[in-house]
Subunit: 226 residues, 2 copies
Amino acid sequence: MEFKHVLPADIERTSMKIIGGELEERGITVPPENEAVVKRVIHTTADFDYAENMRFTEDACRKGIEIFQKGGVTIVTDTNMAYSGISKPSLKKLGDDAHCYMADPEIMEAAKKAGTTRAVASMEQAAKDYPDSLVYAVGNAPTALIKIAEMIEAGLRPLMVIAVPVGFVNVVESKEYLMDTCEKYGIPAIAAMGRKGGSNVAACICNALLYQASNTLDPSARGWKG
Amino acid sequence: MEFKHVLPADIERTSMKIIGGELEERGITVPPENEAVVKRVIHTTADFDYAENMRFTEDACRKGIEIFQKGGVTIVTDTNMAYSGISKPSLKKLGDDAHCYMADPEIMEAAKKAGTTRAVASMEQAAKDYPDSLVYAVGNAPTALIKIAEMIEAGLRPLMVIAVPVGFVNVVESKEYLMDTCEKYGIPAIAAMGRKGGSNVAACICNALLYQASNTLDPSARGWKG
């Protein structure tokens, strides 16, 4: 069996080149401002459907990069898997953080008491803990997205929402509701519309923004020595 | 916006029914012995390509279930994300375990010294630590699969290999090499052929087997009180 001799460091670059070439072959044009996110999602899934199913509120990527560059942000995920996938070195470099409440006994208890899902209880707790510095990244539970949209209607202003739950029940509708709500209230949001998505996709979109934020960071702006 | 009123506990059942129905509509017949795995992968990705791209060595699912039911197995993953996604309650119930070496400083050091990837160094370390009780679950690195196949050629006998890296460079070829090698040496293996896969898919295949193992476990066989 013959394998291509590609240095580990070059694999990502080579992959992105292949993805770019195939997008061209398929006649798909991704707006340049969304390209880094869309290509990274395709890189994570090998699924070109994402070239056409992603929805961005106006300037969502640029705004997301700026949000992460300011620092002090906490990304709250609805699965420990998504949490695991988010680049910790990039968060650290930017002065941001990530958290997942799903395994907390208090959250299990709160969900049980309220007759709701742990994902919903997690989103509510995040809104209490980080009302002004919160980015939601949802890769699994449509109930979490619905709750976030309801909290936005009620006055919550998360800095950004990544909305990519996957599945067959209420997933399609929850993303439409969330994206319409974010557009209405001017909250930057990125979604994969339709059924597709997942914890890996949620982490990957965060990383696409974090990498860009981290690579274009002006160290002097944060008082760092580089 | 109207949402379907489905109890959390019923969402999975409803989803599986939808998936079954759409497989039928598409005229796709999944062999009954592989159905639980294939359907769970579609449930995790909302991607019906997996109904046709998965490859199983003979009786891989039944053998996998039996392996996990015996207990004492360690699943070693090539990402912390896949590790996070594997059901810890099921592992515990069955007396099995999971581990990921990717963040270990010793592994980083070993990889650097050998001029290889951390994934390769992880697979090698796993072979040393669990030579007789090892299930590999690879959702990211084709280099890990190639190393596993080489170690099998050299005499290693993992109990099972889940082979679902995703990507554009050496991924297709690495899965073919691994599956051919596993077939040659009678090692149960499950792969998603082609480019698709991922850490979520690796965890999901493990869980499909673990859930079945756990649900059909005879407690008396392990001396448990149930």
